[in-house]
């Protein structure tokens, strides 16, 4: 076997091997276009090498011409693939040049098959045998084809294109890549052009050995593409390490981590995550199975949050309950984010969860204690009011009794006055309902229940409280002024608790004026709307506030003989729970427009509640 056969066959098989590897890579990762183009180039170079060998071994001019004609097919593939490689892998090179090269090369391929025996020779007239690597090889002798210039022009353009691309990459700062890939392509293309010009225009006697130059390009490309693979491998190692670190950190912090891949609907979860949600270590889990673990009351909210995050790439946070297979309920705080694939399509949602059952439990206990304290305050208010409330109940009962006795007499008459008796019965019914109303209001205030936030009218609250305290205020000889702003928007709150605040303020006002002369006992209740805040004010003309008005809100601050001094501090806590502000100032400063602010200074309490958001009922 000759050296020529060995070297050219080895070149072809090396290229084919490289092509096979990179085709395989591409078949796993369809987005790895560099691998596909590299594979195509390698195959084309292998074919090119085989055809070159055929030319060297040609025995007739026709055989030589045919091999040279077909060699332009792999050339086309090589040029187009390299242009693609530069554009896609190096992300450089001018588009118009790329298209011009492809167009010229395609034109050259067509001319190759249409004009003369091939692109290079109009006619190969004879073969000449020259010594090469210690043996005799064939080269063609004949009439050169001028159209050959088209092909060589395309190569020249390719040279310019690659130089320009290499400069772009260099300027971008990626000098290694510019030198190795760009530089080697430039070098081998330049030498290839030089050789083909010299050989094919029959200036020197030398066989066509272009495949060597192409092999050089393939090796440079192979180096570049393999570096990518190496980097991927290193990344994967790094990833493993960072995952291990991450797992360690999350386990130490008690975090569970999970990833939902949308395409496969699989949920991957860390050990801690599986423990928190009660999944076995090796169980495969779908999103539906995860959602089934979530408390039915929270499930739909979590489902829509996770989906929204996955679809829009938004963040989500939330606290929800999970129900474990053994029936235990756990509070989980979750946080996550959706991620898209490189094409912007939603791909996966990542999240972290932590067990907050303990915190939730203590929050619940604190809230329960607060509610108990608030209730206690209410019961204390009512015991202060018990005398006047009894009177309030007594009134309808007295009316009912008198009416019933009148009816007895009317019915005993001859003839009985039935029409009047009927009216009496109607009145009895309505008075009975009135008594029922009083009991209902009372029961509402005595009830201890969970805070219920509903839209309310501030004006109704004021009227409710006046109804409860009417009798008490009358007995105290207090003149009541009411200034309600009919345009106040609704507020959101717990009716009973807000009533309690106003009740407390009203009772305090009444007591503050006990020492005043009867003509100077004025209570003003007002509502006003200003910049999204609804203000309810209770002002008196009583003994006023201490120099530091805030002190009245401190627990156990009291001026009453039998008070605990908790009323206003409870009111403050109610206000805080409503995002409202409760504060006090002297009545004169508050500018209450009533007969009020005359001689004594008095106190005015303001409850500033945020108005309910627009559009809500």
């Amino acid at each position: 076997m000759s050296w020529v056969t060995i070297v050219w066959s080895a070149t072809a098989s090396a290229c084919l091997t490289l092509a096979a590897i990179h085709f395989l890579v591409w078949s796993y990762r369809r987005t790895a276009w560099a691998d596909l183009l590299f594979g195509l180039t390698s195959v084309a170079v292998a074919i090119y090498a085989v055809l070159e060998l055929a030319m060297m071994r040609a025995e007739t001019p026709e055989q030589f011409a045919t091999a040279l004609r077909w060699i332009h097919v792999p050339t086309w593939v090589i040029v187009v693939s390299l242009v693609g490689f530069v554009r896609l892998h190096l992300r450089a090179g001018r588009a118009w040049l790329a298209w011009s090269i492809c167009a010229l090369r395609t034109l050259a391929l067509m001319l190759n098959f249409l004009v003369g025996q091939n692109l290079n020779y109009r006619e190969v007239t004879a073969l000449r045998h020259i010594p090469f690597l210690g043996e005799s090889v064939s080269t063609g002798v004949g009439v050169s084809n001028p159209w050959m210039l088209v092909g060589q022009l395309s190569l020249l353009l390719f040279f310019v294109f690659t130089v320009d691309a290499a400069f772009t990459v260099w300027r971008r700062g990626d000098r290694r890549r510019a030198l190795v890939t760009g530089g080697s392509i430039v070098f081998f293309v330049l030498t290839g052009i030089a050789q083909s010009v010299l050989v094919l225009w029959q200036i020197v006697d030398w066989p066509l050995t272009e495949s060597f130059f192409y092999l050089g390009i393939v090796l440079a490309m192979g180096y570049e593409v393999s570096r990518e693979a190496l980097r991927a491998a290193r990344l994967s190692d790094d990833l493993h390490e960072s995952e291990a670190r991450m797992t360690l950190a999350s386990e130490a912090a008690g975090f569970g981590v999970w990833i939902w891949t949308i395409a496969t609907n699989r949920v991957w979860g860390s050990e801690q995550w599986r423990r928190l949600l009660g999944f076995a270590t090796d169980a495969t889990v779908s999103l539906e199975e995860v959602l089934e673990r979530i408390h039915p009351d929270d499930r739909e909210k979590v489902r829509s949050e996770v989906r929204r995050a996955g679809e829009t790439g938004a963040d989500f946070t939330g606290e929800y309950r999970v129900m474990l297979p053994d029936g235990a309920v756990r509070w989980i705080a979750a946080q996550g984010r959706g991620y898209a694939d490189p094409h912007g399509k939603p791909a996966r949602t990542l999240g972290a969860v932590i067990d907050v059952t303990g915190r939730k439990e203590s929050e619940r206990q604190i809230e329960q204690q607060r509610e108990q304290l608030v209730h206690l305050g209410r019961v204390m208010n009512l015991s202060e009011l018990s005398g006047s409330l009894a009177h309030e109940m007594n009134q309808p009962l007295a009316i009912i009794l008198t009416n019933a006795q009148a009816a007895q007499r009317l019915l005993a008459q001859q003839p009985p006055d039935l029409a009047e008796a009927r009216d009496i019965l109607a009145d009895i019914v309505s008075e009975d309902e009135r008594a029922g109303e009083v009991i209902k209001r009372l029961r509402g205030l005595l009830k201890s229940g969970e805070t219920q936030l509903l839209p309310l009218s501030a004006n109704d609250l004021v009227q409710d409280v006046l109804r409860i305290t009417r009798s008490d205020l009358l007995e105290r000889g207090i003149r009541v002024h009411v200034a309600l702003d009919s345009s106040v928007p609704p507020v959101v709150g717990d009716r009973i608790q807000l009533q309690q605040v106003l009740l407390n303020l009203t009772l305090n006002a009444g007591e503050a004026m006990a020492a005043n002369p009867p003509s100077d006992r004025h209570l003003t209740l007002a509502t006003v709307h200003c910049d999204g805040t609804v203000r309810i004010s209770v002002s008196d003309t009583g003994c006023g506030l201490p120099p530091d008005a805030e002190r009245v809100f401190e627990p156990f601050h009291t001026t009453k003989k039998e008070g605990l001094g908790l009323g206003l501090s409870i009111c403050r806590s109610i206000a805080r729970a409503h995002n409202a502000r409760l504060w006090a100032e002297p009545t004169v400063a508050a500018g209450i427009p009533s007969a009020a602010a005359t001689t004594s200074c008095g106190a005015t309490f303001h409850l500033d509640l945020p108005a309910a958001a627009e559009g809500k009922p």
Binding site: H391, L397, T402, A406, R409, L410, D427
Partner: protein, 206 residues
């Protein structure tokens, strides 16, 4: 004293209560004038005989006890019955001291209320009789000359004619003539009657 009438003034700020009391009293044949405010009552009040006032103590604006004081300080006081929803002791003592007929607590039994109303009306009628007698006595007394008044005062004081004559510096016969005129003008037949009339006048003038 069944459906014999008399006027009952009702004053209560609670319309329901006012209506119920009105019905009860009307069923018993009384004439009822009902008011929800003290001002309305004072403005339209005209004396009627016999009449009484049933008054709610817990009224805004005008205190029930104040009104009672105003009504009892006139020459012909209107008997007042108090109704209260609360009825504390000090208030009832004050009311009784100020001459209230009764002090009743709501809810009130019909028999108690009616008994009190009847008693009040009776008191009103009696007072009226007494007052009209005093009025006519006063009229007669005013027809006496100044000298006759002087003589009458001494007669009633138990002086003898001789003593009166000496005291006034006139003859005894003139005293006798004056006495006869006085008995005639005062339309009394005996000295005892004259003394009683003088007593009543005296009380009325006090």
């Amino acid at each position: 004293m069944s459906a014999t009438g008399g006027t009952v003034f009702l004053l209560d700020d609670e319309p329901g209560m006012l209506k119920a009391l009105n019905r009860l009293l009307k069923a018993e044949g009384f004439t009822v004038r009902a008011f929800t405010s003290a001002r309305a009552f004072v403005e339209s009040y005209r004396q009627e005989v016999p009449s009484c006032l049933v008054l709610d103590v817990e009224m805004p604006e005008l205190n029930g006890l104040e009104l009672q004081q105003r009504l009892t300080s006139t020459e012909n006081p209107l008997p007042v019955i108090f109704l209260t929803g609360r009825g504390d002791v000090p208030m009832s003592v004050n009311a009784m001291k100020a001459g209230a007929i009764d002090f009743l607590t709501k809810p009130v039994k019909d028999v108690d209320l009616l008994q009190a109303v009847r008693f009040a009306l009776q008191r009103s009628a009696e007072r009226h009789v007494v007052n009209s007698q005093v009025d006519s006595l006063r009229q007669r007394y005013s027809s006496l000359t100044p000298r006759e008044c002087e003589v009458m005062a001494l007669v009633v004081a138990g002086r003898l004619n001789k003593q009166i004559a000496a005291a006034l510096g006139i003859v005894e016969h003139t005293v006798k003539v004056h006495r006869g005129r006085i008995m005639e003008k005062m339309s009394v037949n005996s000295l005892a009657e004259l003394v009683r009339a003088a007593e009543r006048l005296g009380r009325g003038n006090r």
